[in-house]
């Protein structure tokens, strides 16, 4: 992924340049609290027919939640209440969930619709909305929050709905809350998707909420459009004309740049085996739009996919212009030879980006054949850590990541077979599969063990890998899995057979190291040492190898063997896994201290509000931004100016059991986590403040009771231009805005008082007061009329002058002289026609008609000024 240089620079500035020593680390302190480790050697007898969907259960998800909650157990307790619950009594992440999303749960139209009084935790609360006890839903919703940091909606509100006049109503129908909730198979699919996704999809700090259109409903704008077309068709048919075709297409999902995703049934469709269906690529597609916005924002653009490098590799270019109606047209065009992941990926770079990345993950084998090699490599490198998801690569990767388990199982097999006298028959291996001359009984025994290993490991993969069951079917097992596995096993077993001959204590020595392989401690240490170093991944690989060699030194193994074991450790903890693990650790650590971030945000705001409000300076700063909202510049600039120090203070306050951050690299990582967390908290504070100001404005407007209009009608000195009703209304608006004195911090005057101003000025030119004033000031009006008419003549003459220039250009000295006579004549000869046109248009103005102003009298006055006007136009244009 592209690094954001600005933030890296900021973090380096914050941390300084100290070199890391042997500091105690937050990650080690947190590890002390973590649960039991997985022990590779003890593979339970897993039923080979079981798939991921068969182990999806409340207990399974509960245990995942437990592991994640442990990581946040040492955070800062959350104060406050949610209904009957004291937040301080809940686990920290549950309390944070309720503090953030507690007001968006259940029936938002009726807070008493569900009785939560018997609940003491978040899953129970969500299950009350689902009206089921100890149901999977409550756990999946909460797990989504723990892993993704966003809200999988459990309410009857649909963001940005035009037809939702109040929560619960959609497409004009009052629907029960249950219609807005996810079906069981959709919940499984969300859970499986969480297993499929890695960074950047799992670190979308701006993603707020995923909600659904009620079950069985289409998006309201689609329904509205269809209904409108049907109405138009009825009228066409009545006129004996042919009706227009009604589009059958549905929108299946929408992704908003401010962090909302809305899904419709089509996007949520899950196949019968639950691992297929459009759910996976569709939801991943919508989440990838968020990646596009997120990365774009870091690069100071709206979409990552609009950057020139992506346009080039996807084959898009933008045609933009203003049409004859002065409308801006921005249309994406595609090169004729562009290779697309799907037809829809050809509609815009943003859709191409979302389609490519989602299909790269869900339909890897097919997508590899569809997009260009360079596009494939770009996607793999930047969004999947150099991985790919075609069938062969997936199998190869599984065998690689299981290599330490395979090594241990091979070691055990060689050890068992060397002691066993029980004859076994197997054709799995042939003598040529081993580098050492091996007895047939040993080959048979190892072959039988290899079949068991294959069965055990593939069964494990089927229930732990999201693609396990879809890839490891009977056909692929025989043709792809077995040959790759066999080669790996025979290599391990050959090595151990040789060692067995050389050193009888080898197994015992090596086994003690194998037991330590699952411990991620060495990998974490290496990751911290190498964080933000040049060639970070290479540095990590070398450091892990070095640390592992130190670990095996006590075993007194030959150098080559020691190095092999070190590589085995590295194989079990590859850089990308460790990076993902560490990011998750620090992210949940910062989340567990959300209360500190909340308090810091409140403090910064209060301090800045106290510093006085002014809108004189231009807004500056890019740490804290307010989406498409408005904010008075003094407050905005102050928050941005203090952001930098506030992040420092927050990191300084973070601790585990009283131990604060000491490791400089750890400090750097924490800055990178605290920055988006503070940004998000400030943004939500901004939304609250804006809403509060909105309510105050409403009350201000309500209290007006026509006073503003009375003031407008009391004195008409504000009327500057009476050439048309529109001009009078414009003058009225300007006055009305200036009369609204409410001190605005979070919205513009137009936003806040637009309606009041419009109502106060409505038909002001038809009021008795205005007519009285106008009668009184008829003479003044005549004078102003002449001025308006003259302006009209000048604007028409300017347009004519431009036409004349096209015919008789003055772009060179020669042309200037050559065409001078014709150019001047072109304008002069049209002058009378210009005046006629202006008088004609002016005469149709309602005020001119009303006052019966004689256009001919104005013509005389115009003629008096004619030469002066002509000279002015020629001077300005020729």
């Amino acid at each position: 992924m592209k690094k954001n240089n600005f933030f890296i620079l900021l973090i380096l500035l914050l941390v300084g340049c100290s070199k890391s020593k042997d500091y105690s680390t937050i990650v080690n302190e947190l590890k002390k609290n973590s649960g039991p480790k997985e022990v590779y050697r003890h593979l339970a007898n897993i039923d080979a027919t079981k798939c991921l969907k068969d182990i999806f259960s409340v207990d399974m998800v509960k245990s995942e939640i437990k592991q994640l909650e442990i990581k946040q157990a040492k955070g800062t307790k959350v104060e406050g209440k949610w209904r009957h619950l004291n937040l301080a009594d809940l686990s920290i992440p549950q309390a944070n969930f309720l503090k953030t999303f507690g007001a968006s749960l259940g029936d938002l139209n009726n807070s008493k619709a569900f009785d939560y009084s018997s609940c003491n935790d978040v899953p129970c609360i969500i299950n009350k909305i689902y009206q089921k006890e100890n149901h999977i839903a409550g756990y999946v919703h909460y797990l989504w929050y723990l892993k993704m940091g966003s809200y999988l909606s459990a309410s009857n509100n649909v963001y940005d709905s035009k037809t939702q006049t109040r929560p619960g109503i959609y497409n004009g129908k009052e629907l029960p809350v249950s219609a807005y909730l996810f079906r069981d198979e959709e919940l499984y699919a969300f859970w499986r998707l969480m297993l499929m996704m890695k960074s950047p999809h799992t670190v979308l700090t701006k993603l707020k909420e995923i909600t659904r259109v009620p079950q069985g409903e289409s998006f309201d704008f689609t329904v509205e459009k269809r209904q409108q077309l049907e109405r138009e068709n009825l009228s066409l048919v009545a006129q004996g004309k042919r009706p227009k075709p009604i589009p059958l297409g549905e929108t299946c999902g929408l992704s908003y740049s401010n962090g909302y995703i809305i899904l419709q049934d089509l996007c949520l469709s899950v196949g019968q085996d639950q691992d297929s269906g459009s759910f996976y690529d569709s939801v991943l597609h919508e989440l990838t739009h968020q990646v596009d916005f997120h990365e774009g924002s870091k690069l100071n653009t709206t979409h990552r996919s609009f950057k020139s490098d992506y346009l080039e590799l996807s084959g898009f270019w933008l045609e933009e212009y203003k049409n004859e109606r002065n409308e801006t047209i921005r249309q994406w065009k595609l090169n004729a030879n562009a290779k697309l992941p799907s037809a829809y990926g050809g509609t815009s770079p943003a859709e191409n980006f979302a389609e490519t990345i989602s299909l790269f993950r869900t339909k890897g084998t097919l997508t590899k054949t569809k997009i260009s090699e360079i596009h494939w490599a770009f996607t793999s490198k930047n969004y999947f850590a150099d991985k790919s998801f075609d069938k062969n690569t997936i199998i190869k990767n599984w065998i690689n990541t299981q290599s330490s388990l395979l090594a241990q199982l091979s070691l055990k097999a060689v050890s068992d077979c060397s002691k066993s006298n029980v004859p076994s028959i197997s054709t799995y291996f042939r003598p040529a599969d081993f580098t050492l001359t091996t007895l047939p009984s040993m080959i048979n025994c190892l072959g039988a063990k290899a079949i068991e290993i294959s069965q055990d490991v593939s069964s494990k993969i089927k229930i732990s890998e999201p693609d396990g069951c879809s890839i490891l079917n009977e056909y692929n097992m025989r043709d792809d899995w077995e040959p790759a596995l066999k080669s790996q096993l025979s290599s391990f077993m050959s090595k151990y057979l040789i060692e067995l001959q050389n050193d009888k204590t080898y197994f015992a020595k090596v086994q003690s190291f194998y037991d330590r392989i699952p411990d991620i401690g060495l990998a974490n240490k290496a990751y911290l040492e190498c964080y933000q170093e040049d060639l970070e991944e290479d540095c990590y690989n070398q450091e892990v190898h070095k640390l592992a060699l130190l670990e095996v030194a006590s075993l007194n193994l030959p150098e080559v063997h020691a190095s092999e074991l070190a590589n085995l450790y590295l194989g079990s903890h590859p850089y990308l896994n460790t990076q993902q693990y560490m990011r998750e650790i620090y992210r949940s650590f910062v989340l567990s201290h959300s209360e500190i971030v909340n308090q810091a945000a409140l403090d910064i705001w209060a301090t800045c509000e106290e510093m006085g409000i002014s809108d004189e300076l231009a807004p500056e700063g890019r740490f804290f931004k307010i989406s498409d909202g408005y904010m008075v510049s003094s407050l905005y600039n102050c928050i941005n100016a203090k952001f930098y120090d506030t992040v420092k203070e927050i990191v300084r306050d973070l601790s585990v059991d009283g131990i604060k951050v000491q490791h400089p690299k750890e400090e750097m990582i924490l800055y990178s986590e605290v920055i988006p967390s503070l940004q998000r908290t400030l943004l939500s504070l901004f939304a609250q403040k804006m809403e509060r100001e909105g309510r105050q404005i409403q009350s201000y407007v309500k209290k007006d009771e026509g006073n503003l209009r009375k003031e407008i009608l009391s004195n008409f000195s504000w009327v500057k231009n009476i050439s048309s009703n529109a001009a009078i209304i414009d003058d009225c608006h300007a006055l009305a805005f200036s009369k609204t004195t409410f001190p605005l911090l979070y919205q513009t005057k137009a936003q806040a008082f637009g309606v009041l101003v419009q109502n106060s000025c409505q038909d002001v030119q038809m009021s008795n007061e205005f007519n009285f004033w106008i009668e009184e000031s008829k003479s003044v009006f005549e004078e102003k009329s002449l001025e308006s008419l003259q302006n009209l003549v000048l604007s028409y003459a300017t347009a004519k002058a431009k036409d004349c220039l096209v015919q008789y250009p003055n772009d060179t000295n020669l042309n200037r002289i050559k065409h001078k006579t014709n150019r001047d004549a072109c304008l002069m000869n049209s002058w009378t026609a210009i005046e006629d046109q202006a008088i004609k248009n002016f005469s149709s103005d309602p005020l001119v008609i009303k006052f019966k102003i004689d256009p001919e009298s104005l013509r005389v006055k115009l003629e008096a000024n004619r030469r002066k006007n002509q000279v002015r136009i020629m001077k300005e244009n020729f």
Binding site: K225, G249, T251, G253, L254, S255, Y256, S257, N258, H285, E286, H289, F293, G296, S297, N300, T301, T302, H303, F306, E319, E320, Y321, K322, N323, E324, N326, E327, T328, I329, R330, Y344, T347, S348, A350, E351, A354, D615, A618, P619, E620, R622, K625, I626, S627, D628, G629, Y630, M631, Y636, D730, H733, T748, A750, K802, L805, V806, P809, D811, N877
Partner: protein, 140 residues
């Protein structure tokens, strides 16, 4: 006269003035070319008598006949922030229009925030704080 205009234009562009020194509705093709050189590309557009001159950094001049009527360019520095424009257009009777978009799109529409009296509008994606394009046009 012409050379003094060009000199002014050069001086202004050297001083980092954000708004282009070309006057929309008045500046001619030859004036643009004399300042900026020959365009990288010239494209036809579906507008009567309309063409686009394309320069580096995605700067596009829309011509009607010989006259430059619109300029499309990327925002620079603080111009990238929507809030900057909200302040800049504070005293202007602004309009916000949705730019017609493909209705099958899954993402937020592009919006055009305009101040006709200043002859400037900016493009952003609804809900986002980042400006993607600045358009100069004739002042109204």
């Amino acid at each position: 006269m012409r050379s003094s205009i060009i000199l002014t234009i050069l001086l202004l562009s050297g001083c980092g003035v954000k708004k282009s020194s070309f006057v929309m509705g008045k500046t001619t093709r030859s004036e643009v070319i004399s300042v900026k050189g020959e365009p990288i590309k010239e494209e036809a557009i579906p507008v009567n008598d309309g063409t686009i001159l394309i320069y580096g950094e995605d700067e596009k001049y829309q011509l009607k006949g010989d006259i430059v009527v619109n300029l499309f360019k990327n925002p620079s520095n603080q111009e990238r922030l929507l809030l900057f424009w909200k302040h800049k257009f504070k005293d202007c009777l602004t309009t916000i229009k949705k730019i017609s978009k493909d209705e099958t799109s899954h993402t937020s529409p592009e919006m055009e925030f305009s101040c006709p009296s200043q002859g400037v509008s900016v493009i952003y994606t609804e809900g986002s704080d980042v400006i993607s394009r600045v358009i100069e046009n004739e002042k109204k």
